[in-house]
Symmetry: C2
Subunit: 137 residues, 2 copies
Amino acid sequence: MSSPDPLSPGDYRALARFRYALRVFLRFSEDAARSAGVTPAHHQLMLAVKGWDGAGPPTISDLADRLQLKLHSTVELVRRAADAGLVTTAADEADARRQLVALTPHGESILASLSLQHREELRRFRTEMVDVLDELA
Amino acid sequence: MSSPDPLSPGDYRALARFRYALRVFLRFSEDAARSAGVTPAHHQLMLAVKGWDGAGPPTISDLADRLQLKLHSTVELVRRAADAGLVTTAADEADARRQLVALTPHGESILASLSLQHREELRRFRTEMVDVLDELA
DNA sequence: CACAGATAGATCGTACCACGATCTATCTGT
DNA sequence: ACAGATAGATCGTGGTACGATCTATCTGTG
């Protein structure tokens, strides 16, 4: 009803509401990360490592794809996270060009705490996001 | 099934998949904005103006709330967007402290094009996002 | 109607983060 | 064995949001 071909005022409102819901979630997420003593980027990196579902630990390139970042941006992100004691890197024995990334116990612990909060928050936002997406369907 | 109280590997994977879907959407959105000749921030600002549903045009504070930015960050964003010819500002006659923000025809035209693309993209991502959110429910 | 406090916005310097361009090291196919 | 591909590292740049602070305008209370 709200979306033939041209854009209706309702479409704009729905798009704006979607972005607002997204912003509120992202704001929550950034604040949660900073309260846990890590940057939002570090948090995303740790989640990508922990949620990696390939065979063996992810390489930096794998993470760049998951995070939708350029490779060299990910290189620096991993280095900063390693400096902060959240992840470790080790050369892949099978291919010395590759660096395998893993979480430290400290990173693991912070990620667990953040993930619990995020699971809660996503449950809260689920209904709203689905509603708004339906308006654009 | 996937979420009693402690976090399961499936929870981490679901959280990671959600962020990945989000990143892919945001990457699309940023690229679309830049292709249209505006920054992602300008695009969000224009959408917040066009999707505003209050009485009369939004003030800078209204937009700061919608964009989840600090007021002074929004002030600068609006100034840059005005410099780029995308929006105009005018003092509220009823309260000279307030600046009312509106789109220029140029901004209106760019936003229309971007919004069409975003409606399409969101339809594409809707199923996936809903799926992932359901995994955490 | 005057004044303290609240509200809206503007300005300045800072920090982070991602990027393009470029460089090195390692691997692979013929 | 060598050219090209792949993975990562380094350097300098730009955009964007922020904290701290300042000015201008409005409002409630005496």
